[in-house]
Amino acid sequence: MVKFGIEFVPREPYWKIMYYALQAERGGFSNLWITDHFNNRNVYVTLATAAIYTNRITFGPGVTNPYMVNPVFTAQAIATLNELAPGRVVLGMGAGDKTTLDTVGVEMEKPLTAIQESIDIIRKMINGESVAYQGEVFKAAGAKFLFKPKGKIPVYVGAQGPKMLALAGKIGDGVLINACHPKDVEYAVNCVKEGVSASGKRLDEIDVAAYTSFSVHEDLKKANKAAVRVVASIAAGSPPQILERHGIDVKKAEEIKEAIKANDWTRAFSGVTPEMISAFSVCGTPDLCIERIAELLKSGISQFVVGSPIGPNVREAINLVSEKIIPHFET
């Protein structure tokens, strides 16, 4: 049976996120993912609050990157979280987004190697080992916790490109596929399968999640309107081959990019087409969302992540997912 996850961005204050997190937990969601960007509130403080207020939902950063935070600190943070909420902590690791890294002058050096090495270090640290590591990107000379970490913490790899997806399948306990359209998710799962096979595992041994931009409302227009602001950014940042795969005019995406650069959000949002909404979000009435999720499930995903914006009214949207969408997939 498919699991449902939900993503929150700690640009919102902790009390709003905790309200929604508890609501989601009660509504049948099994995973809570908190994004990690330096310009929002801190991911681990938010997750520690979630550890205190929630009771059974699994949670973790979705995703953090090894460039902004050294892997030993990531290991420390999640090992400590796992003391607060044993068995409920997972770690989402990704290469980060280049624009944000550029803002703070951090280079995205060898992302595949960085992810592989950082996860290796994190796992060793969590295992209580002394880590002597001579990697291409990361080095450690006898790094070891002065406390005894407890339990196993599953590591998910956030991925979009074919090589990272294959690596995710190879080394991850789970994969967070950054895609919304069945064509993209199917392609991604096939890449993950390559990595899974290479490591001698089966696909059903790992948790394969579609991490989507999601918007639900009983009124389709309202659902679309909420999705537009997220879709505009995704369309503007998508490479031409992805746009062409969905029959999206590359020029139109370029125009949105220009408008965003000029901080002209009205122009950017007005440039979003129905094709873009369909390609880069799961959006609509509960019935339309069910239809889309059912299509995505055919690709072999085991978790569906309801990501930003969730809906024009987040509380109502969580209720819609809990009352109309999740039950549909439980039967």
């Binding site: 709003k16 309200y19 929604y20």
Partner: protein
């Protein structure tokens, strides 16, 4: 302002709709910075115990709603035909 007294005068049948209105005002408010952390923690503690839709919980929600969205709160109470509560709140707000 005695928020507890205001909530006390609300008929129990209206608690559910009042809860919906107040929590929506709070969660959709852009005035996050006006929420004192102590009050936010109390709200979350009540939510964790699932008692927000009780007299005690509604008292916390009303206080938070008034802090974040005073005019909208008065309008919401009026819309719910809680005229007496809306009037008392309005008077209190004018005095402060």
């Amino acid at each position: 302002m005695d928020y507890g007294k205001l909530v006390e005068s609300v008929a129990i049948q209206k608690w559910s709709v009042l809860f919906d209105k107040l929590i929506d005002l709070i969660l959709t408010s852009k005035n996050d910075d006006k929420m004192p952390s102590q009050l936010a923690n109390t709200l979350l503690s009540h939510w964790q115990k699932d008692v927000l839709n009780t007299q005690t919980g509604l008292t916390v929600l009303l206080e938070a709603a008034v802090l974040l969205e005073p005019e909208k709160t008065v309008a919401a109470l009026t819309e719910l035909q809680l005229t007496n509560v809306a009037e008392q709140l309005k008077e209190a707000l004018v005095k402060t």
